[in-house]
Each structure stands twice: as structure tokens, then as C-alpha cells.
């Protein structure tokens, strides 16, 4: 039951450290990027492995196709780009060349959600989870903190399956501790029996804060870190329905098709659905503002999560 701590981390740092460590161990690991050597935090990787850093320039369709060609030739490509451009520009390549062709590419969506704050909706990637969740055979992993990012990178390198890894830029505290990352499995970071908060990525630490605040108001909140969005841990959702009375989902993404929609699809197909609240962005382009401001604007703070949980517990 780790209380959130003060130190905050950019998960891209953990991502790069782990990738370099793995690249030393396995020469099949290569990085492919779209000019984003800096923003994908690959400067050190490029220094250490100049021939294994394939920068195709500002050309996302080419980038994903090249990644597929490498994967189909026995390499383990980590294809890195800002998430809005990787997923938006190359969506058909992700569908046809990666998922449908079963080429084991690790697609790394850097700086997702509203990490680019004031740069605006062109640079936000709140649609990525919805778009990608519709694609068969593509794993979707959203680590909550640096430890989990490292564990997910290690898993992805060995998985030999198409996967999208959403790597946060907006700083988060360490919350997962030494818990192992298991693809497809939610982890229970806090137990509770009134309401379950299912959170992913940057929202997990906020869900833990919300749970602590709710406890002060006499509401017992379970927190699930749903770090795999696809395939979803449906059993964890069913357990939450049996053992708590309501579910709140929280994601730095549009609720149209992302985590909230995925959880809702489980909830409404069970014989006894429970009430739900879906926190996220509801089909809206963000106004101007920093990431922190936008998370407040879209009611994605710990206080907002707590309010939703307490309201449902009544």
C-alpha cells in the first residue's frame, strides 16, 4: 500500500535505460525512429549502437513498414515515435504490416495522452488506445511508472508478438514497487470493498491518492493498475463486480473506445452489471493549457477520481 512519494519520473528515461541494457545482451534488438532520437530519449542508444539505430526521418508509414521488415527478418525492432504520429499517421501499417502480418514489432508510443500540453490537440494522443484496441492481435501495454516501464520493455523484447507500448512523458511517482509485470494481468495496488478504481498509466498514482482520500471519508476503494489494455484482464473486472459495488475507470485518453469502454463491455455483458463512471476525455479537443492544467480541466485529478468513487459508494 505504497503512499505516493514526492519524487517524479519521466518513464522515457527508464525506457531508454532498459532498452540499452537489453541491446547489450541481445544483438537482435534495434531501434527505429522518425527523427525523434531526442524526444524518444534514444541519444545514448544511438551512441552505443550506431548501426542498430535506424532513423528514417519524418516518415511514420515508412518507419512502421521498416520495423515490420526487420521483425520479419529476425530482428526485435523497437519502433519509437511520438504517439500521435506513430499511431495516427501509420495506423494502416500497424494494422496490416504489424498486427495482421504477425510481425513482432514493439511499437513505442512516446509522450502519449496530453503530454504535449500547450502544443495542442494535433500533438495530443488521446485517441491511440481507441484506435489500436480495434486491431486484432495487437497487445496494448500502458505502464504506470518507471519500474513497470522497464519490466514491460523486458517482456516486450522477449514476447515475439506485436505490441504497442505507451511510454509516458508526464512525470509520475513510483507506485508499482517490486510487483512483477504480467502481460494481460491487472495488479491490485490497494484492496477495498466498496468501489474499484481501474486506472492506467499516469492515472494510477492519482487513483491511489484518491483511494487514500476516500478512506478518510469512510469509503473503501480498491485500485487496479490495468497496465494491459488489450487483451483486458476480464477476470479482474468480474472479481471487482463481485467483491465491490461499483467501478470507476480513469485514463489519460478518450473514453470512446479506450480503457473505460473496454471495462464497460465486460460489465454490461455480465448477468448483474454494476454502476460505472468513466473518467477521461469525452470526444473533445483540448483547450490551450499545460498537461497538469488539462488533467484538471478534464477532471482527471485525484480529487475527481475520489469524488466519483465516493458518489458511487453512496
Amino acid at each position: 500500500m505504497s503512499a505516493p512519494v514526492d519524487e517524479l519520473f519521466d518513464c522515457r528515461v527508464a525506457f531508454a535505460e532498459q532498452l540499452i541494457e537489453l541491446a547489450h545482451e541481445d544483438e537482435r534488438i534495434v531501434a527505429v525512429c522518425n527523427d525523434s532520437v531526442g524526444s524518444s530519449n534514444l541519444v545514448q542508444f544511438a551512441k552505443e549502437f550506431p548501426t542498430r539505430m535506424i532513423n528514417v526521418g519524418i516518415a511514420e508509414q515508412d518507419m512502421v513498414g521498416v520495423g515490420a521488415g526487420l521483425a520479419l527478418s529476425g530482428y526485435i525492432p523497437f519502433v519509437c515515435g511520438a504517439s500521435p504520429f506513430l499511431t495516427g499517421r501509420a495506423l494502416e501499417q500497424i494494422k496490416a504490416d504489424v498486427a495482421y502480418s504477425q510481425s513482432p514489432v514493439v511499437l513505442c508510443g512516446m509522450s502519449p495522452g496530453m503530454a504535449y500540453g500547450e502544443l495542442g490537440p494535433t500533438h495530443h494522443s488521446i485517441e491511440d488506445l481507441s484506435w489500436l484496441r480495434a486491431i486484432a492481435g495487437l497487445g496494448i501495454v500502458v505502464p504506470a511508472d518507471p519500474q513497470e516501464t522497464k519490466a514491460a520493455v523486458r517482456w516486450a523484447a522477449a514476447a515475439a508478438t506485436p505490441v504497442f507500448l505507451r511510454v509516458a512523458r508526464f512525470k509520475v511517482p513510483a507506485v508499482t514497487g517490486s510487483r512483477p509485470f504480467t502481460f494481460g494481468t491487472a495488479t491490485r495496488l490497494r484492496d477495498g470493498d466498496d468501489v474499484t478504481v481501474v486506472a492506467t498509466g499516469t492515472m494510477v498514482s492519482r487513483a491511489l491518492e484518491a483511494a487514500a482520500e476516500a478512506a478518510d471519508r469512510g469509503v473503501s476503494v480498491r485500485v487496479l493498475n490495468m497496465s494491459t489494455i488489450a487483451p483486458l484482464d476480464e477476470e479482474a473486472i468480474r472479481a471487482a463486480m463481485r467483491e465491490t459495488r461499483a467501478i470507476v475507470t480513469a485514463e489519460e485518453a478518450t473514453t470512446t473506445g479506450g480503457l473505460g469502454a473496454a471495462v464497460a463491455a465486460v460489465v454490461v455483458t455480465e448477468p448483474s452489471p454494476v454502476p460505472m463512471r468513466m473518467l477521461g476525455v469525452h470526444r473533445e479537443f483540448a483547450p490551450t493549457g499545460s498537461t497538469a492544467f488539462l488533467l484538471e480541466h478534464f477532471k482527471l485529478t485525484a480529487a475527481d477520481i475520489r469524488a466519483a468513487a465516493v458518489e458511487l459508494a453512496r
Partner: protein, 293 residues
């Protein structure tokens, strides 16, 4: 996943050797005969299935036949051989031409062609590498084959392998921008282990390429992107062989193969409506008579 057919593979080996050993004119004859047999097979297959892309199948078959019977270092009985040459059909809608060619090589039994497009068949309207040996990546949406082939060529170089990557592009699909992203990358990285063949039949689904969104001068475009370019008659097997085996510089190679859509069937040749029209049984019979001449 379909499995290799040893009898067909043995026949492929014998014919390949005969073609390699033959004098040029005989070599041309053998390749033409083989391509025209594939044309006939393809027409019957499309007739049976009631769908297919007959025009583009007939235009690309001399290119495919030349590659599979004269150039590619492959073993149909070992489709996963690491150092095999890679072949990618970017114009995936002409899957019929690829399937007839792969069957003729023994990647799978020719009898499988009877299942083309039938429910649950491995032979989808567009090729699937998970189901069909010899298919290296799933294609169908246009503009995908060249970027993937560039990745394969980068991989071949990283691995220090002598394998070569061949990709066949439709001309119409060069209107997709992704091709030019990949063409830049191949030129910039001097991927000499990559050959792109453009099936330049000058027709796309609805009209002529030059009336729709002109591609010419296509040779200058590829040269400007850092490629060596050969312009050949795409139905002249010896000219194709020469282009594929010409000494290579340090640049990627583009072979612009001028072809005729519907090649070999007089009433289909260079006619836009035969992009994916299905011939009647009588038309198929008369086409096959023409091809046998």
C-alpha cells in the same frame, strides 16, 4: 499454413536448371511457356472463384515467372531458410498471379488453387504470410510493400547476409506517398541489396495513370531518389533477366517493366474494365486457346 509439394518442387528444380543451362532463345521460350501456363491456370482459378484481378495478374506474370524460375535464391521446401532471397508482392490484389507461381514452384500443391477465395481457404483475395508459404508479408492495401522491403534490406545488411530483396510494385500504387518515404530511405541508405520492379501497365482501377495522377517521368523520379534505374519490356524475359542480374552499383535498383494489362488475351489487353472483371466460361476458353498458340 499450407505445406510444400515435393513433386512440384522437383519439377520446379528441373525446369529452373533447364532454363539456366539453355541458350538465350530457348531460355526465353521456356520462360514464356511457363508464364503462359500460369496465365491459363490463373484464368481458370478466377473463373472458378468468380473474383480476382485478371488484368494485373496477366501483366505481372512474366515478371513473377522470371524471378521465381530464373533469379530468386529460394527453396520452396524450406520457405523459412534464413538466407533466402525475399520476394514481396506489394500489389497484393494480384494474389492470383502469385498463388499460381508459388504453386508452380511447389511451395504448396497446385490442387490448393481450386480453393482460391472459397470460405476458410488459405488463399485469400490478398496474400497472407501466416497461411501461405512463400508469402513474406501480408499485402493488399497499396503502398505497403516497399517500406517493409526496405526493412528487410536493412536487416539483410545488418546480418551480413548476401540475400537480396525483390519487391514488385503496381504503377498506380506509386501514387501512395508511403512509397516515396521508403524510396528516400533506400536511396539514402544505399540499399544495394534491394530491387523494386514496377509493373508499368499504365492503367489503374478506374482509368489511365497518366490521366488520373501522372507518374511520368518515373525513371527520373527514382533516379532523383538515389536509385539505379533500368527500363525494360516487362514481357521480354531476357530483358528482365538482364536487368535483374546486371552488375549493381551501391544504390538500390529500380526496374521499370513496361507491361500490358491483360497481356496475352486480345480482348483484355490494355482495357481498363478488365481490372477486376470476371471472364465468362466462354471467354476463359477462348483466352486459353489464345495463350496456347
Amino acid at each position: 499454413m499450407l505445406v510444400a509439394d515435393p513433386r512440384s518442387a522437383a519439377a520446379w528444380r528441373r525446369l529452373r536448371q533447364e532454363i539456366a543451362d539453355a541458350a538465350p532463345e530457348r531460355r526465353r521460350e521456356l520462360l514464356r511457356e511457363r508464364a503462359d501456363r500460369s496465365r491459363a491456370t490463373d484464368l481458370r482459378m478466377i473463373g472458378r472463384a468468380g473474383l480476382g484481378h485478371v488484368g494485373g495478374d496477366l501483366s505481372v506474370l512474366d515478371i513473377l515467372t522470371t524471378l521465381f524460375f530464373g533469379v530468386l535464391r529460394i527453396d520452396p521446401e524450406k520457405p523459412d531458410w534464413t538466407d533466402r532471397d525475399r520476394f514481396v508482392l506489394s500489389k497484393g490484389h494480384t494474389a492470383g498471379a502469385l498463388y499460381t507461381t508459388l504453386a508452380a514452384c511447389g511451395f504448396f500443391a497446385p490442387a490448393e488453387l481450386d480453393t482460391f477465395a472459397a470460405p476458410l481457404s488459405a488463399l485469400n483475395g490478398h496474400p497472407n504470410r501466416v497461411k501461405v508459404p512463400g508469402v513474406e508479408t501480408n499485402t493488399g492495401p497499396l503502398g505497403h510493400g516497399l517500406p517493409v522491403s526496405v526493412g528487410m534490406a536493412v536487416a539483410g545488411r545488418l546480418a551480413g547476409s548476401a540475400r537480396h530483396v525483390y519487391v514488385v510494385l503496381g504503377d498506380g500504387e506509386l501514387q501512395e506517398g508511403s512509397n516515396w518515404e521508403a524510396a528516400m530511405t533506400a536511396g539514402h541508405r544505399r540499399l544495394a541489396n534491394l530491387t523494386a520492379v514496377v509493373d508499368r501497365n499504365r492503367l489503374q482501377q478506374g482509368a489511365r495513370t497518366e490521366e488520373t495522377n501522372a507518374l511520368d517521368p518515373l525513371d527520373d523520379k527514382f533516379r532523383a531518389f538515389g536509385w539505379d534505374v533500368h527500363v525494360v519490356d516487362g514481357h521480354d524475359h531476357l530483358a528482365l533477366l538482364d536487368a535483374f542480374t546486371a552488375p549493381r552499383s551501391e544504390r538500390p535498383t529500380c526496374v521499370i517493366a513496361h507491361t500490358t494489362k491483360g497481356r496475352g488475351v486480345s480482348f483484355m489487353e490494355d482495357r481498363v474494365e478488365w481490372h477486376h472483371k470476371v471472364p465468362s466460361p466462354a471467354q476463359i476458353d477462348s483466352a486459353i486457346v489464345e495463350l496456347a498458340r
